[in-house]
Amino acid sequence: MDLSYTVLILIIPLFVFLLLGLFFRRIKAPLSGYIGVAGLTVTSLISFFVAFEYFFKIGMVDGAYQKIVAFKFVWLHFTSTMSISIGVMLDPLSAVMLIVVPLVSWMVHIYSLGYMKGDRGFTRFYAFLSLFTFSMLGLVLASNLFEIYIFWELVGVSSYSLIGFYYEKPSAVLAAKKAFIVTRFADLGFLIGLLILSYYAKTFDFVNLTSLTFIHNLSGIGTTFIGLSVITWALILIFVGGAGKSAMFPLHIWLPDAMEGPTPVSALIHAATMVVAGVFLVARLFPLYYFIEGGIALDVVTVVGTFTILFAAIIAITQHDIKRVLAFSTISQIGYMMLALGISKYEGPEGLGYMAAMFHLFTHAMFKALLFLGAGSIIHSVHSNYMQDMGGLRKYMPITHITFLIAALAISGIPPFAGFFSKDAILAAAFEHHKVVWFTGWFVAGLTAFYMFRLYFRIFWWNDPKYEHTPHESPKSMTIPLMVLAFMAAFSGFIPFSHFVSPDYVPFSEHMEWGLAGASVGIGLVGIILAWILYKKENDLSTRFALAFGLFYKWAYHKFYIDELYMFVTKEIIFKHISAPFAWFDRHVVDGTMNGIGNSTVWISEKIKGLQSGRVQDYAMYFVSGATVISMILWFLIK
């Protein structure tokens, strides 16, 4: 069966981007939005069709899912095995992403019709959204490591331009710059890791890289460096790149600032799709991570993930900007996915963690996009990002209220909503792996419920502040995507995910651990009740509560001063003590030499410009004297 039509999934968004990007002066505001939505509708339908075909018709051979290279165009050919190609590869991983990415992107496109209405950069916005969708789909469909890297950078660029969408705002420009520099810095790790890995593996292709015999051969070769084999180092470096994109500690600092972008962008890029690229990358190379040197690189992933969920959840509790709360919540939830990947094993039902990571990725994309779009809807009507300016909104915005509540319940892990199933799978896998990891995950589940419902109660209950304009429900174009995503957030947990995704591509059946599930639901309820006590009605309990924590609260409120630490390291240490001497050297020695050459040329020409008098007689004189001198020299040389 010819699958090369799958390349349309990439071509349509790219075409829309080029159309809107090149003719953005011609195509006026509402039309460009319709073009974007139409393009994405087609893309989404094709993607869903491909995913359906893969899972139910062509993917399964002999009880295991296959990697199918649907389309391949060899771009740079190095050796018989090593080439950089642009291709489309289908496997359970990319098929799942083929549902997540277009669905969220589709919803965001529709939502933006209402949210961005009247914005001056409307067409530009849709152009960049299409570019992003193209790059993200390219990333998930990539058939080799280098192709993933190309799209990885493209995703970074479109994220940069969307964070800095309101480029008149200095804070947005700064945030865009920060996001770009931090992720770029991390991508350097990815690039180095990629080069090391491909140097030893002699291939970029995932089909080769993830086959077990190949990994077996690979684990023998390579030198060691500080006790670890060079392949392990390569994998750790690749994870650094993934951690940068997925905002893992300590590279998370860009994500909260990235909320300067328009809210639909936050929903699409910084909650549902781009930030899970790191998870996707690790999952993509999972056999390598698992088998090389007993999975030391995977342990790194676990540790980083586990620390990040706790760290980000604590900060999320203290923030007042609702988008920032959601941003830290995103970091924390991605930490869950990383953690789940880190603790996963390879074969059969033991691959529960891997499955759980992808499951959580799926459900999280739904409910977190929903939360962000809900927040966008709130911001749209209240015109503020801060929860101090909100309260009692349930009366004014019923649809937003209900959908937000569903999302909050989903993320808090309350059955039967989606988050319950995926988070429970993660915790079940963690319990088998290590009790500390499980306990952290379980505790953070409570924190998650608390900060989500703090947000929920603070926005929709509390007391009415004095609104200047009465808030109103958002237009249909915004509420319909909310309802669609709410439906997904409510029911996508019932998808038997283990039948579709597993590390060895062999489906297995998952068994519910009711004891563990009960424990996590219990702590979730505790968090919700605590939030209900503190934030249902206007009171000063929360302030007293914060005061009780004192210094710790202040620390958390300032995000543990990580940003300040980075600023200190870059500004005080790197800039002052390393860059400044270099700058001095450059300015005085390098430039001085160059300026000296330039100045002396000017000086000399100033002195000798009289030679160019324009008089034939002078020229004749120079000519004769020159000829004489040269003939004299020649004469003596020949003699």
Binding site: M621, V624, S631, W635
Partner: protein
């Protein structure tokens, strides 16, 4: 005898050429040049190139000098002395000339010329044959070119001198 004659001519040439480039009266300068040219013709005679000497006399002394004199009469007020060149420039040019002369003479005197003792007289007939010969040592092509050049110079000189456009 011929040697004495040569030295006499050489002195005439040198003296008059120095005077030609230094005289501040244009008309005198031209007349000195005439003497130099006569001297050159004399050398041609001594070298037994009679035809060449005749050409020199008729074209240079007869034609060009008259042309000069006519032009001077047309454009310059005779008797008004020419501007004196700057002293430093004179010195510089003089030094340059002496230096160049030194180098050239040094080169000439340190080179050994293979002088042949035989002498053959060149007749006008031979010269004419050579000029119009198509053979290996023939000069028909340059000869024709020179003819065209002279024609062009003639037409050009008339055309340029005739134009009556004035500045402003």
């Amino acid at each position: 005898m011929e040697r004495l004659f040569f030295y006499f001519i050489a002195i005439i040439i040198l003296v008059f050429s120095v005077m030609a480039v230094n005289s501040r009266n244009m008309m005198r300068s031209i007349i000195y040049l005439l003497f130099v040219l006569l001297g050159v013709a004399g050398i041609y005679f001594l070298l037994e190139y009679n035809f060449l000497a005749a050409v020199e006399l008729s074209v240079y002394a007869g034609g060009i000098i008259i042309l000069y004199i006519n032009s001077i009469m047309l454009i310059d007020k005779i008797g008004v002395p020419m501007e004196k060149p700057k002293g430093s420039r004179q010195l510089l040019a003089g030094l340059l000339s002496i230096f160049g002369l030194g180098v050239s003479l040094f080169a000439i005197y340190s080179y050994h010329f293979n002088q042949t003792a035989t002498t053959t007289e060149t007749t006008v007939k031979e010269l004419g044959k050579h000029l119009l010969s198509y053979g290996n040592n023939g000069f028909i092509l340059p000869f024709e070119l020179i003819s065209i050049f002279l024609l062009a110079a003639l037409v050009g000189a008339i055309a340029i001198a005739k134009s009556t456009k004035t500045l402003k």
